[in-house]
Symmetry: C2
């Protein structure tokens, strides 16, 4: 009934995996090996022409975009809701999801890519890499991968760090006097932020705040988060043999 | 009770103005003159540190991001709903909103800026412009404005046209056999796309499809769209004295 095409339980894939586990929904896992570019295989592009994980398939319909897959799950399966009740609080949870989509995801991914992803890819299959990347469609995604393989320069990395500073300030502000990011309790806001904030103890520990650290601890203790984490195929999401510090186990 | 800080009824401001009118909600209009950079005045930055219109204020709370202001209005005032009932159809409407946020808005705005906005700004206050722009905070927005003032090069314009081609193909596909973009009837998808698609008859008429033209006609005949349009201060949103073709009257 429910199938999820996903990579390791990190980034956008993790958001939907955690949401499914939080709601107690059974689903068939379809693993897409992003570092082998399986997301650009014709079969996957037929599901999502943008060539991006995750994709949820429900009753033959394919759903893309993690924020809106999560909202769909919350509406199609209303038990164990993951959005607050009050319209104001629902806006706050959605605004967090959008902030993740527009700012936090790219910044955290840039830093994690530089520290972990690019070295892992280079170790894995660098020889045939340029050829594999050259065939990626659409062109916009090919350009992104070619830039990723070249690597970020210092100015780009500093820009990513500056965005992380702003994101952490926002997390710290929203955790003042409460345990979860949106007013009204645990929500899709926490689900959206966690897979990216979870990189930070490894890649920019100096930028973390105390509330953010405590919240990361609460998140990683949730049974749903642990259940998503057990779906990792490799020691961490980038296939590096030796696991890093605890928080990066699948980051 | 409801206050809307907005520019002319175009782009993101138009989305919320149309949604308010569709729902029959009274609101106090607070005009922000974007080409005079009033969105970077301290009073406005206190409402939205990103320095972007529109902002909705309801019972003392400030709401940003057009997609989520519209969803908030639809939940806080459930009469005359602007999202379909079925979860699948709701996902489709939200996916359209995200597509506008991530792709169509920038592409259409780039083309409209090159054709209309930049000349209008240049005619208005070019002399003191660089000084005004130099004081914009945050830096990221200042960089954007400085790039806008320099103008787009041919490659950037062609990239915008390519994105418009893809957007029109998506509009044409979703209008096959129905009048509105999302299954389930008129929705926030139409509200989101209209202010950007409405530029196209003026700036890239060669890229329009037949269904898109017919849909633009249906949209512009809606009383709510007409009501939003009457809130324009100038002949069009860029303050050009002579109005262009009908579709660009406030585009």
């Amino acid at each position: 009934m429910l199938e999820l095409y996903h990579w390791e339980p990190n980034a956008a894939s993790a958001r939907v995996m955690i949401a499914l586990k939080e709601k107690g929904l059974e689903f068939r896992s379809r693993y897409v090996e992003v570092l082998a570019f399986e997301q650009f295989a014709p079969g996957f592009l037929a599901l999502n022409p943008a060539g991006q994980t995750p994709v949820l398939v429900h009753d033959g319909e394919a759903f893309t975009e993690a924020s809106f897959i999560c909202e769909y799950l919350d509406e199609a399966f209303p038990e164990r809701p993951l959005l607050p009740q009050a319209p104001l609080d629902r806006w706050a949870a959605r605004a967090w999801q959008k902030y993740v989509d527009d700012h936090l995801a790219a910044a955290a991914s840039d830093l994690a890519w530089a520290a972990l992803g690019r070295p892992a890819l280079k170790a894995r299959n660098w020889a045939s890499l340029e050829q594999a990347v050259a065939s990626i469609q659409p062109k916009e995604r090919r350009d992104q991968w070619q830039a990723a393989i070249r690597g970020l320069d210092d100015e780009e990395l500093e820009r990513a760090r500056e965005r992380i500073r702003l994101a952490v300030a926002r997390i710290e502000a929203d955790l003042e006097g409460r345990d979860w990011l949106a007013p009204g309790g645990y929500s899709l806001a926490d689900v959206a932020v966690y897979p990216y904030a979870n990189y930070l103890p490894s890649v920019t520990p100096e930028l973390l705040g105390e509330r953010t650290r405590a919240w990361l601890g609460r998140m990683s203790n949730r049974p749903a988060v642990k259940a998503a984490e057990t779906m990792a195929r490799t020691a961490d999401a980038y296939g590096i043999a030796a696991p890093g510090p605890e928080h990066i186990r699948w980051g």
